[in-house]
């Protein structure tokens, strides 16, 4: 991975508390897995930045090296890699994701 890509990723995860590297954009996901994670974040009404890896081939490959994770989407919360689609889904269903957001002081809609 080149320095520029490394810097770009570092910058995104530092400046966005909740950052999702995805295929497509939050409004128009280009892959079912990216859409699934986007939908979860939308249901929780979390503010997040969606970074479209399809717009940048270096980023698309670089993020896999950066996280040591072979697939996209990838969710970061407060600079920390949380997981891909399967893990995020499981954490949402078990309530762990809500807890993680709460523990990190990130605003979201709590289930009533």
């Amino acid at each position: 991975m080149d320095n520029q890509t490394n810097e770009l990723i570092n910058n995104e995860i530092k400046s966005n508390e909740v950052c999702l590297f995805m295929k497509g954009t939050p409004d128009a996901p280009q892959c079912g897995f990216s859409m699934a994670v986007t939908n979860i974040l939308k249901m929780l009404e979390v503010n997040f930045k969606g970074v479209n890896v399809l717009a940048d081939q270096n980023l698309r490959e670089g993020i896999k090296v950066f996280s040591d994770w072979p697939t996209i989407p990838q969710l970061y919360v407060k600079n920390e890699f949380i997981g891909g689609c399967d893990i995020v889904k499981e954490m949402y269903e078990s309530g762990e994701l809500a807890k993680l957001l709460e523990d990190n002081g990130i605003e979201f809609k709590k289930k009533s």
């Binding site: 897995f33 896999k64 040591d68 994770w69 072979p70 697939t71 890699f81 949380i82 997981g83 891909g84 689609c85 399967d86 893990i87 499981e90 954490m91």
Partner: protein
């Protein structure tokens, strides 16, 4: 760009010999699978580590030959 279900199973089995593995071909196209893997080797590991163990067993095929594999891991 497709992979046989048996090939996935044997690669996981090779890395995690005690694993109970259930694989489904979700779309019937040899390209979208889901795998549930139950192994004692997951004990004490985070979800990220557990999933990485499954991905690593596939020796770089994940994200290449294998487009979509939904993974679920459990300790036994």
């Amino acid at each position: 760009m497709a992979m046989d279900l048996k090939e996935i199973e044997s690669l996981i089995k090779e890395a995690l010999p005690d694993a109970k593995i259930e694989i489904q071909d979700l779309a019937g196209d040899g390209n979208h699978y889901s795998a549930t893997v139950i192994s004692s080797q997951f004990a004490g590991k985070s979800k990220i580590q557990q999933h990485k163990m499954v991905y690593n067993s596939l020796k770089g095929k994940m994200g290449n030959e294998l487009h979509a594999l939904a993974v679920k891991t459990k300790e036994n």
